[in-house]
């Protein structure tokens, strides 16, 4: 077995100090193989987004401290790489899409320009950039991409903006795509479209996808493996089908149970008893 694409070992990220010390991530370890899809499920405060940002040291260092552990991407520890090499990593090998597409896209530039920028930065060998842009937009399911090149972000709907973000991320052909709650801000039908798109990408390319979400429903038919995070720690991990069918940890069970199910009207929704977990 070749070395895994991503290997996180005993990662610890702290904020604040003394009385106000917050261990956002408290010693987690996991790994991802090339082409694998991994979902990280947790509520707010579980540390999932912090973990995602830490992969390429995107957290602002005066307030965040990488207290322990290492993040090995393709054999190299990103926590210890010099800044110049890290920048070559970001965007080119590890690409991100975030929750709010509207604020991740620069409002004063057209989407064509922004994708062009990404390509020129990370793939200078490409000669026909425009064709590449159109191809990327086509891959994410935007109709008539040639006409869309001159559009500004505010002219697009939320779903289309998210597709543009994915196109920007894909244009550089990364090895790992980190999607931090990409559909939380979208309507349910658009959410389905974006998830379908991600599933398509998973099948067609060898790109690994790390999906951060709080919605177990999205995980079910998308991710190969799932991690459940609670207060900075991983409480359960395994193959998605196994975890969903047979959750071991009390928190996982509670999390799965309190999602209200369609067509199964209950008298009262199940609530998580946090005291019973720690």
């Amino acid at each position: 077995m070749s070395i895994p694409l991503l290997r996180v070992e005993n990662l610890g990220i702290h904020f604040g100090s003394g009385e106000n010390l917050v261990k956002a991530v408290d010693g987690i370890s996991f790994s991802m193989a090339a082409g694998e899809t991994l979902a990280v499920v947790g509520e707010s405060g579980s540390g999932k987004s912090v973990t995602a940002l830490a992969l390429t040291r995107l957290l602002a260092t005066p307030s965040a401290r990488y207290a322990s552990g290492q993040i090995e991407f393709k054999g190299r520890d990103t926590l210890r790489l010099p800044e110049s090499e890290l920048r070559a990593l970001r965007g080119k090998q590890i690409a991100y899409i975030f929750q709010e597409p509207a604020s991740s896209l620069n409002p004063v530039f057209t989407i064509g320009y922004q994708i062009q920028e990404a390509i020129e930065l990370h793939r200078p060998e490409v000669s026909n950039v425009e064709a590449e842009i159109i191809r990327a937009l086509h891959t994410v399911g935007i109709r008539e991409p040639e006409k869309r090149l001159g559009d500004y972000p505010h002219q697009l709907s939320g779903g289309m903006q998210q597709r543009v973000m994915i196109a920007m991320a894909l244009a550089c052909q990364p090895d790992l795509l980190v999607a931090d709650e990409p559909t939380t801000a979208l309507d349910v039908t658009i959410q389905k479209q974006i998830m379908d798109l991600l599933k398509e990408l998973k099948q067609k390319s060898n790109m690994a996808i790390l999906l951060i979400t709080h919605n177990f429903g999205l995980v079910a038919d998308f991710a190969d493996h799932v991690l459940v995070m609670f207060r900075g720690r991983i409480v359960e991990s395994g193959r998605t089908a196994d975890v969903l069918r047979n959750p071991q940890h009390a928190y996982t069970k509670a999390l799965i149970e309190c999602v209200p199910r369609l067509g199964q009207k209950q008298h009262r929704l199940k609530v998580i008893d946090y005291a019973g977990i720690e």
């Binding site: 509520e43 309507d187 389905k192 177990f216 429903g217 309190c258 999602v259 067509g263 609530v271």
Partner: protein, 267 residues
């Protein structure tokens, strides 16, 4: 329409809310956005009617129109027998005691500069001016207790609370005036799944205890099914389907409803 033995509390008839698009130097109307386009429905006393739709469907606008934060362009809203949408702002004021609203965003729906006591007590100050400060403090403490918060939180500030707790404060604020009808404008959409469950349970408990009537606006179908007796599905300003909660999920008639249902991620 559901057969129920309670009388209609809120009746919306042919409601239209159009927003003008202004352009040019003198900001003349060059078009309009039909946010709510000829909507009619009834909410009976003690019921929960769910209003489901995606962004841009007009569901939030209906909620705002009922509580007169937006004025309808046409149509009438009746509360009991009174056409409240046609009242002058000063004449509508007493209805603010009967109809209240809970907002979606727990982080911006509480004034960060006021303490919890001041936020909830403001409603008392306005509508019950004869109450002394001590009486108000007692009543606010009562309300906090009802929504599951502790009395010693009275003098704390919003930033000290989590999202779920802030929503509870928002609910307490709405309850302060003893309302009959509450418009719940996506009250759990911004919360974690487990906190959603807590708040939804709380709303149901309060409905039983105080005999409240809810218009529950949301885009999460599963939550709406759980809490509503009757569900209205909206798309682009119109109601495309109206049925009981069970009927909607077992036997959706309209194409859009079916699309919505199939899009919900299933475990």
């Amino acid at each position: 329409m559901p057969e129920s033995n309670s009388q209609p509390l809120l009746r919306v008839e042919n409601l239209q809310v159009y927003f003008p698009i202004l352009g040019g130097v003198f900001r003349r109307k060059i078009g309009e956005v039909k946010a709510v386009d000829d909507v009619s429905f009834t909410v009976n006393r003690g019921q929960t009617v769910g209003l489901v739709g995606e962004s841009g469907s007009g569901k939030t606008t209906i909620g705002r129109a009922i509580i007169r934060l937006t004025d309808p362009t046409a149509g009438t809203i009746y509360y009991g027998d009174t056409p409240i949408s046609k009242l002058r702002p000063s004449a509508f004021r007493p209805y603010r005691k009967k109809i209240q609203i809970i907002f979606q965003d727990p982080y911006n729906s509480l004034n960060p500069r006021l303490s919890i006591f001041e936020i909830i007590g403001e409603a008392l100050e306005i509508h019950f001016p004869k109450m002394t400060r001590e009486e108000r403090r007692e009543r606010v403490a009562e309300l906090l207790d009802k929504v599951g918060l502790k009395k010693d939180h009275l003098d704390r500030y919003p930033h000290e609370f989590s999202g779920g707790q802030r929503q509870r404060i928002g609910i307490a604020r709405a309850l302060a005036v003893d309302p009959e009808f509450i418009v719940c404008d996506e009250p759990v959409s911004a919360l974690d799944v487990s906190v959603q469950a807590q708040i939804v349970n709380l709303l149901q408990d309060l409905q039983e205890e105080l005999g409240l009537t809810y218009l529950f606006i949301a885009h999460d179908l599963a939550v709406v099914e759980h809490i509503s007796d009757f569900v209205l599905v909206m798309n682009a300003g119109k109601i495309v389907e109206a049925a009981t909660a069970e009927a909607i999920y077992e036997n959706p008639q309209h194409d859009y409803t079916r699309r919505l249902l199939s899009a919900v991620p299933k475990l």
